[in-house]
């Protein structure tokens, strides 16, 4: 059977999770294999090369670059302070000397006698990587980072904004279909990951920012609200780098859409527990989806990562509709006809027949459903 449908997003109360935590450049790993780490622990650090500042010394001296060597006072590799003399003209009888000073502190990367250009480099910038999840170090990639494993309850979101954060889960919505009132967010939400229902409106997000909420998990978000929040329209889905003071993980999609019952119940079950979340979303080229990770107590012997497999679409498989009409509804496959079928838009597609939770029998393009893992 060809797989002409979307693999579903994972929602599970128990998964062995493996996370690579890698530095952007080679550096130093701070932990060793077998170490137990907490989400906020540093696991690796490095120094990023400082910014390069090109500086055309020949122009400043007003000489042709091939004569620059007669005036230059520095060499490649020299450490500089701001104001260090780079070159000096001889002047006339010791007078009218002109001195060229370094505009930055750092070091001399290179000197080109061909173009007269110096490349000065600013001091290195320290960068560190946190564990992000509570777990155990199962592998150290020398000079690059680590692999952490744990046992977690785990929810993949569909879209998110904002980077990595963590906090205890607090369920604000009384049901997965609630559109919560901003008043429900108060001081008790500070530092928490709050769970809304079908939508987090702009007012809710603003209130959460005010109350220093760490993260919001919501079924839906309105695109106009998102634009107003960020001040720009998201063009391509590469997100997670927004700096809005909190992280938002959307589990279903855009608009007001009930959070999947299973997701809501899972979050409710783990209320009060710590969750690590991030909003990184990249839909093309090395897909990334936002994640909600709730670490569970585990014995190291239990850590055995399962091979990923693509779930199959069969009669009886639980599915979720991921496009209008019936967007967001859950159902069960009742038939999988082979032949192409014409749907309302007159598109000829491979379809499936399904019975939705409300008893409605529908025909759906296979491309418009995702499989729900049992």
């Amino acid at each position: 059977m060809a797989q002409a449908y979307s693999p579903g997003l994972t929602v599970t109360d128990n998964i062995v999770l493996r996370k690579e935590r890698i530095l952007p450049l080679k550096g130093k790993v701070l932990v060793k294999k077998g170490d137990k780490v907490k989400a906020d622990d540093l696991v690796a650090e490095t120094l990023l090369p400082g910014k390069v500042v090109p500086f055309n010394l020949a122009n400043k001296l007003g000489v042709d670059s091939k004569f620059m060597k007669d005036y230059i006072k520095i060499q490649e590799g020299d450490v500089l302070e701001k104001g260090t003399v780079l070159a000096e003209t001889k002047g006339f009888l010791g007078m009218f000397k002109s001195t060229i000073k370094s505009p930055i502190a750092g070091e001399v990367e290179s000197i080109s006698n061909l173009t007269g250009q110096l490349l000065l480099r600013e001091p290195k910038i320290p960068v560190s990587v946190k564990a992000f999840i509570d777990g155990v170090i199962v592998d150290v990639i020398e000079n690059e980072g680590v692999v952490i494993e744990n046992k977690s309850a785990y929810v993949q979101g569909i879209f998110g904004i904002g980077g990595e954060t963590n906090g205890d889960i607090k369920v604000i919505a009384s049901s997965p279909s609630e559109s919560i009132d901003p008043k429900k967010i108060d001081q008790t939400c500070e530092g928490k990951v709050i769970v809304c229902g079908a939508i987090a409106s702009l007012a809710v997000i603003k209130k959460a920012q005010q109350m220093k909420v760490a993260g919001i998990i919501t079924g839906g978000i309105d695109d106009q609200d998102l634009k107003d929040l960020l001040g720009y329209d998201i063009g391509v889905a590469i997100t997670g780098h927004e700096e809005i003071g909190l992280t938002i993980v959307v589990t279903e999609g855009f608009g007001e859409i009930n959070m999947a019952q299973k997701t809501y119940e899972l979050l409710k079950h783990f209320e009060g527990k710590k969750a690590s979340i991030h909003g990184f979303t990249q839909i093309r080229a090395g897909v990334m989806r936002p994640e909600i990770i709730i670490p569970l107590p585990f014995d190291e012997k239990e850590l055995k990562v399962e091979e990923p497999k693509m779930s199959e679409l069969l009669i009886g498989t639980n599915i979720r509709v991921i496009r209008q009409p019936n967007f967001g509804k859950i159902g069960k496959v009742t038939a999988l006809p082979e032949q192409l079928t014409k749907v309302e838009s007159e598109t000829l597609v491979r379809i499936l027949e399904a019975e939705l939770e409300d008893g409605q029998k529908v025909i759906l393009p296979r491309a418009n459903v995702e499989v729900i893992e049992n």
Partner: protein, 622 residues
């Protein structure tokens, strides 16, 4: 590469960023035909992280459909989880070829000295090789040097192409650019275990300087100057190097590609040889140029994908080929960027009913985050096609700006050119002289009604004079482009018989007048024996029946002030080619084409045109 050996069964796949498409080509009755097609989601992503899984799924679908078609359960294309090249007749397949644009395709950065001269030539070379150009950095591009360095460092391209200077010219600026690249010490996008490939195709006198600056830090490859003189481009050697590096470095890093690269094989001179995977757009470019040369015509092609829209053109007597990639205009991953670029008003002007704007915004974003879904409802289809028109329109604007004559050169001008005031740097895209417009990509090739493809192509590209329209039926141009590497015969035969579906012709007078005034007097002898004769007012559309392979003798006289190719008000007597849709007469005006701003005025017009074109079921247009 020639190959006279008959290949009974060939499988070709194209691994796109969303979907992996497979086709089966069979030699039957003395000719090559494309017989079955399949597709499956591309699997370069987690959890599968292996492109070959999607390939096997797409080929398995092919296998299932072939079994149904021939009612033969013994048909088998895969064995032990691989494509089966048995080498024996009647078992497995004889050849397997593939193109790829998955994993974001080939992403490059190019550098030049003068942005509009060597910079543009470098960009043309990279685009022609099938790359997406992330940025063009030139000595004169006004950004301060430190910003250029930061940009180079942050981009993380798959490779860099450096041009600059004519042969024997000054070396200073090229040297400076090399210093900037060296200072940025750029890292490749995929994997950190290898050095970033840098191709130098600039002033030959600067080669040693470039080696001194970059040989240690990068994987430096030196090739011929792509702009040896201001008057001449020599893009071939640089393009070839890009293709070599694409295979050796980029593809080898993407998940599963090493395996896939070992699968793509076909017989060459009787021996089973490896056939390199080609970047999808490079393969499409090959085929487009072949059509233009073989038929001596000007061609414009568009491929609107999920993430990007590519426009290809072959214009002028010299058959100058240009390709542009609008990296962020597409129908799924990038659909939201179409909204951001065009604005909601420009999209809604093509929609013949009221729609809640917030709902439209959310629908577009939902398509972005679930890119493989398809419109089930008619309204959603109309909306997607409205968005497609704007994506195509913007991609075409970008193409026209890029496809220009060489800038900076001294060239002798003929008297006719002097009168037409063409100068170096003008666009060479001329919609009036264009012969064939080819559309491809899901939204055009898979539109439920071919009439919708005609409508989208006319509204987005606004062809002028007389233009034939076609779609690539199932977007197999990429597969045919790479297939030509082992069998030109198979590629060209399938192209002619199964690839292009001729939709018909569009006749559109250029110019503007008041609605209702006479714009075109047409007398058309249709193949069914009827004669269509009408003085068509301005602002109208007509659709006349004329089938595939049929022609209609037409006498077309535009009103004064309008032109259909022979000059102001001048009559043309010609033969119009038919197609699955027919002949469209479009008197809505060109240069400019204007639509009423007010919905109350615009919507009835849209409905009228859509009805004439039979674009949608009547209920949505009533």
């Amino acid at each position: 590469m020639g190959n006279t050996q008959i290949l009974k069964r060939i499988i070709a796949t194209d691994c796109g960023s969303t979907t992996t498409k497979s086709i089966l080509i069979e030699y039957m009755g003395g000719e090559y035909r494309q017989t079955v097609r399949g597709e499956a989601p591309t699997t370069v992503e987690k959890p599968l992280n292996d492109v070959t899984k999607g390939v096997i799924n797409a080929v398995t679908e092919l296998e299932e459909l072939a079994r149904i078609k021939y009612q033969d359960d013994s048909i088998k294309f895969t064995k032990d989880g691989e494509i089966w090249l048995s080498g024996k007749e009647g078992e497995g397949v004889d050849a397997y070829v593939s193109t790829s644009s998955a994993g974001g395709g080939l992403q490059m950065m190019v550098t030049g000295v003068v942005a509009k001269m060597t910079g543009e030539s470098a960009e043309r070379a990279a685009l022609g090789a099938g790359a997406i150009v992330m940025d063009l950095i030139a000595s004169n591009d006004k950004r301060p040097n430190h910003e250029k360095i930061e940009r180079i460092r942050h981009l993380r391209p798959d490779m860099i192409l450096m041009a600059g200077g004519v042969d024997g010219g000054t070396t200073k600026h090229v040297a400076e650019m090399a210093e900037l690249v060296g200072a940025a010490d750029p890292k490749p996008r995929l994997g950190s275990s290898y050095k970033l490939p840098v191709i130098y195709a600039g002033n030959d006198k600067a080669r040693d300087i470039i080696k001194d600056t970059l040989a240690d830090k990068t994987d430096l490859i030196i090739t011929e100057n792509l702009r040896p003189t201001l008057e001449r481009e020599n893009l071939g050697p640089a393009r070839d190097k890009i293709h070599d590096l694409f295979m050796e470095h980029v593809m080898a890093q993407a998940p599963g590609y090493n395996k896939l690269m070992s699968w793509t094989k076909g017989p060459i001179d009787g021996k089973l040889e490896n056939i390199p995977i080609m970047p999808t757009p490079a393969a499409v470019g090959n085929i487009m140029q072949t059509i233009a040369k073989v038929n001596n015509i000007e061609v414009l092609g568009v491929d609107i994908g999920g993430a990007t829209t590519d426009v290809f053109s072959v214009f002028t007597e010299d058959k100058v080929f240009n390709r542009t990639v609008s990296a962020n205009l597409g129908m799924s991953y990038s659909i939201s960027n179409v909204l951001a670029t065009a604005g909601i008003e420009n999209i809604l002007r093509w929609v013949p009913f009221d729609i809640d704007r917030a709902g439209l915004r959310n629908m577009i974003k939902n398509k972005m985050i679930r890119p493989t879904t398809i419109p089930q409802q008619l309204e959603e289809l109309v909306l997607e096609q409205a968005i497609a028109k704007e994506a195509l329109r913007y991609a075409f604007i970008q193409h026209k700006e890029f496809a220009v004559s060489l800038k900076g050169g001294q060239r002798q001008r003929e008297i006719s050119e002097a009168f037409s005031q063409s100068t170096s740097g003008d666009t060479i895209v001329n919609m009036m002289t264009l012969n064939l417009l080819v559309g491809s990509g899901g939204v055009l090739s898979h539109a439920p009604r071919r009439h919708q493809s005609v409508m989208m192509m006319i509204d987005a590209f606004l062809p002028e004079g007389i233009t034939r329209l076609a779609v690539d039926s199932i977007f197999m141009m990429p597969q045919l482009g790479v297939l030509a590497e082992i069998s030109e015969q198979a590629a060209t035969e399938v192209f002619e018989k199964d690839c292009l579906i001729y939709l018909g012709s569009c006749v559109a007078p250029v110019g503007k007048m008041k609605p209702g005034k006479l714009s075109l007097s047409a007398r058309i002898e249709l193949p069914n024996g009827e004669v269509f004769e009408e003085d068509i007012p301005f602002g109208e559309m007509r659709l006349l029946p004329c089938g595939v392979g049929e022609t209609a003798k037409a006498t077309l006289k535009p009103a004064r002030g309008l032109d259909i190719g022979a000059g102001n008000g001048t009559e043309i007597v010609t033969e119009l080619h038919g197609g699955v849709v027919g002949i469209v007469l479009d008197t809505r005006g060109r240069q400019p084409f204007v639509m009423p701003v007010e919905a109350a005025e615009r919507v009835p017009l849209l409905k009228k045109w859509m009805k004439v074109l039979n674009a949608y079921p009547a209920e949505i247009l009533s």
